[in-house]
């Protein structure tokens, strides 16, 4: 009973309320039912840019990060590595750092004039890059930041999957004379599928809601080159104070999320997850 009450107040009410809000022109005081927000959504160049940027990060950054995570996990699992505990902690550490603090650090090291990154590039004879004031480089910084923060976390999850693979399959493969490479691609990867799939799903949803890095490192800039659905929603809701439109964006993102997860289930199959 108390659970039901909490559910109604903190879950059902906001859902219904924001659906109602999305049909309200919040530029006019008082509620008036109309569909302006929804028609605006599909012709709004800012929304389309935010959508494009978000999908771009999803398609490029997520696979790269997961490949990196698998590599890290295999390295952490190898018998030759000493001080495993330390490395595991080190890879997990970025998650413990406050988001605001790490965003500020990224801003500093990618500063055009004084940043460590450009100093390093200059030292090996490469010209400075205007990281945060150019659309392409700014997007690259965002992707690097997210990868730095989340690759280790995914590696730890995949490592758990690795450790649940029994030694006997590897022994059998060795007896059959399979090479290390063959073993990895024919045995390790297929058996890791459930773990990787899990990481993929959470990363995709994380990307759909991406807010912190573009908000704090680049402020969605330059222009709107790194604006994501999350930052645009915030901008509309809390800066322009257009709650109706912000609700429509939020529902747009939710529908997109539903579509993406349906595709994932169809394509990747949920048979062994």
């Amino acid at each position: 009973m108390p659970y039901l009450l909490i559910f109604l107040v903190f879950w059902a009410y906001p859902l219904v309320r924001s659906l109602l809000d999305s049909f309200d022109d919040s530029r006019i005081l008082g509620f008036s039912f109309n569909t302006t927000n929804w028609t605006r959504l599909f012709s709004d160049p800012f929304f389309l840019t935010a959508l494009k940027n978000t999908l771009f990060i999803m398609v490029i950054q997520v696979p790269v990060m997961l490949a990196l995570a698998v590599g890290l996990a295999v390295a952490l699992n190898s018998g030759v590595l000493k001080a495993k505990g330390f490395y595991r902690f080190a890879f997990f550490a970025p998650l413990v750092v406050g988001t605001t603090a790490y965003s500020a650090i990224f801003r500093l090291i990618f500063n055009t004039q004084y940043g460590a990154v450009n100093q390093g590039l200059n030292a090996i004879g490469i010209a400075s890059v205007d990281w945060l004031n150019q659309p392409g480089p700014a997007m690259a910084v965002i992707m690097m930041a997210i990868t730095w923060r989340w690759a280790g976390y995914n590696a730890i999850l995949i490592l758990a999957g690795l450790q649940s693979i029994g030694q006997e399959v590897y022994e059998a493969a060795a007896l059959d004379g399979a090479s290390k490479t063959t073993t990895f691609f024919r045995i390790t990867l297929p058996l890791l599928r459930p773990s990787i799939l899990f990481c993929l799903v959470i990363s995709v949803f994380g990307t759909l809601q991406l807010f912190t890095e573009p908000a704090l490192i680049t402020a969605s800039g330059p222009g709107n080159a790194t604006m994501t659905l999350g930052t645009y929603l915030y901008q509309q809701g809390f800066r322009s104070f257009n709650f109706g439109y912000a609700s429509a964006i939020a529902y747009g993102v939710a529908i997109l999320g539903a579509v993406v997860s349906w595709i994932q289930l169809k394509v990747l199959g949920g048979d062994n997850t």
Binding site: D25, S26, R27, L29, T36, R40, S43, D44, P45, F46, Q113, D130, N133, P135, A219, G221, P222, G223, N224, A225, Q235, F238, R239, S240, F241, N242, F243
Partner: protein, 421 residues
């Protein structure tokens, strides 16, 4: 009996004349916060029992948290709230009950004390939701020594074309190490706004009924910004980057609202005597050499527990020469209080500026500033224009007109206001 009557009298008198006391919290940003701090000593002479706490949240944060507080029915708001004139109207339009109508506290007597254009964005009908504070007449702050080395005389710069010629001299002299200014391209559209306002053009018309951003004056402004960028006269930097640039001597000029005087002076005291001021160049010979950027006001949230003390503070800081001149002296905020402009201090030469009478130069432009109105959609229009300007400069549009037509269409969709014919 007599005693009781007396007691009654003192009680009545006490309730109306008791000096305000207690603590008040004030939200502000950067130099504006420091300037308010400068009025506290004289305020406490009059009201010793009020403890003033000034919080510097940074400009964008004050705005964001103010809106959030209003949306939450006045929760977590300070007693005195700083708001930029240009972005003020969204508050009164969406949250008519969030702030106190200052006329209920006696602000009516100050209506004639400020220029009418300062009240426009702060009033709804007969209600006055905030008291005017400073204005931002735009001028060029320049480095005398760097101009001299490059062989430029500031009096020869009368138009933007002259400015570009001067900039080419600076580039030739310093090999591109020193620029003619810093622009927040990609994070702000401040140059566009200053130049558009100079040409009598803005995002919206002054009745806040139509989108006017694609009219001739704005097209000319955007073209000039691109010319300056193409000639490689400006470096790109946000607020903090601009401060670093003038501190390090990487820029020979800073164009901004006059309140930037305090930002330069308090951040680079070591450059005293090396700076000067001249009016902004005109679009064409003999044209307007004035514009306004920014300028703020103080409002009193309706949720304040200590309105009396809060109003006393606002009144002292903004409606007395003492308060306004204290802020001008220490942090260069240009008073919009009419009587303060006549204060002897304004006519004095300023040591930091090489003994130039900078305040006279600056205040003399005030009469030429074309009126412009932020409206409740200022932030939305600005976000669209920031992107449009960056896109135009990177070559995504063929002409400035095309870029501004696209911006006008987007602003119209975002605000529901028609594009002016």
């Amino acid at each position: 009996m007599k005693n009781i009557a007396l007691l009654g009298l003192t009680l009545i008198a006490g309730s109306t004349l008791a000096a305000p006391k207690g603590e008040i919290t004030i939200w502000s940003w950067d130099v504006a916060a420091k300037a308010l701090e400068a009025t506290v000593p004289s305020f406490n002479k009059l009201y010793p029992d009020v403890k003033v706490k000034i919080v510097d949240l940074g400009n964008q944060n004050v705005y964001d948290r103010g809106l959030a507080g209003c949306a939450a029915g006045g929760a977590d708001l300070p007693d005195v709230y700083s708001v930029e004139n240009g972005e003020a109207e969204v508050f009164w339009a969406r949250f008519p009950d969030c702030f106190t109508d200052l006329t209920t506290l006696g602000a009516s007597k100050y209506i004639k004390s400020f220029p009418a254009f300062k009240w426009t964005e702060l009033s709804v009908g007969n209600k006055r939701y905030a008291m005017p504070w400073d204005s931002g007449p735009v001028v060029m702050f320049y480095r005398r020594d760097l101009y001299k080395q490059a062989g430029i005389s500031p009096t020869s710069i009368k138009t933007w074309d002259d400015f570009i010629k001067a900039g080419q001299k600076v580039n030739a002299k310093f090999g591109g190490k020193v620029k003619m200014g810093v622009i927040g391209n990609g994070s702000d559209d401040e140059w566009f706004r200053m130049l558009a306002n100079q040409n009598g053009c803005f995002y919206f018309d002054n009745d806040a009924k139509e989108v006017t951003i694609n009219q001739a004056g704005c097209v000319d402004a955007l073209n000039t910004v691109k010319k300056l960028m193409d000639a490689k006269l400006l470096s790109v930097g946000d607020w903090g980057g601009q401060i670093t640039a003038f501190k390090k001597g990487d820029t020979a000029t800073s164009m901004f609202g006059a309140w930037y005087e305090g930002t330069i002076r308090s951040n680079a005291p070591e450059l005293s005597g090396k700076w000067g001021v001249y009016p902004m160049p005109a679009a064409k010979k003999g044209g307007v050499r004035a514009a306004n950027l920014g300028g703020s006001a103080l409002a009193l949230p309706a949720s304040s527990k200590n309105k009396e003390a809060a109003y006393a503070f606002i009144e002292h800081a903004l409606a007395t020469n003492e308060g306004q001149i204290a802020m001008l002296k220490q942090y260069g905020l240009v008073p919009s209080l009419l009587s303060a402009a006549k204060d002897p201090y304004v006519a004095q030469g300023q040591k930091y500026w090489g003994n130039q009478k900078v305040w006279k130069t600056i205040l003399d432009t005030l009469g030429d500033v074309p009126a412009a109105r932020g409206t409740q959609f200022f932030q939305e229009a600005r976000q669209i224009m920031v992107v449009t300007q960056a896109d135009f400069i990177s070559g995504k549009f063929k002409t400035a007109r095309e870029a501004l037509d696209s911006a006008a269409k987007q602003i119209s969709a975002a605000t529901g206001l028609p594009v002016a014919k």
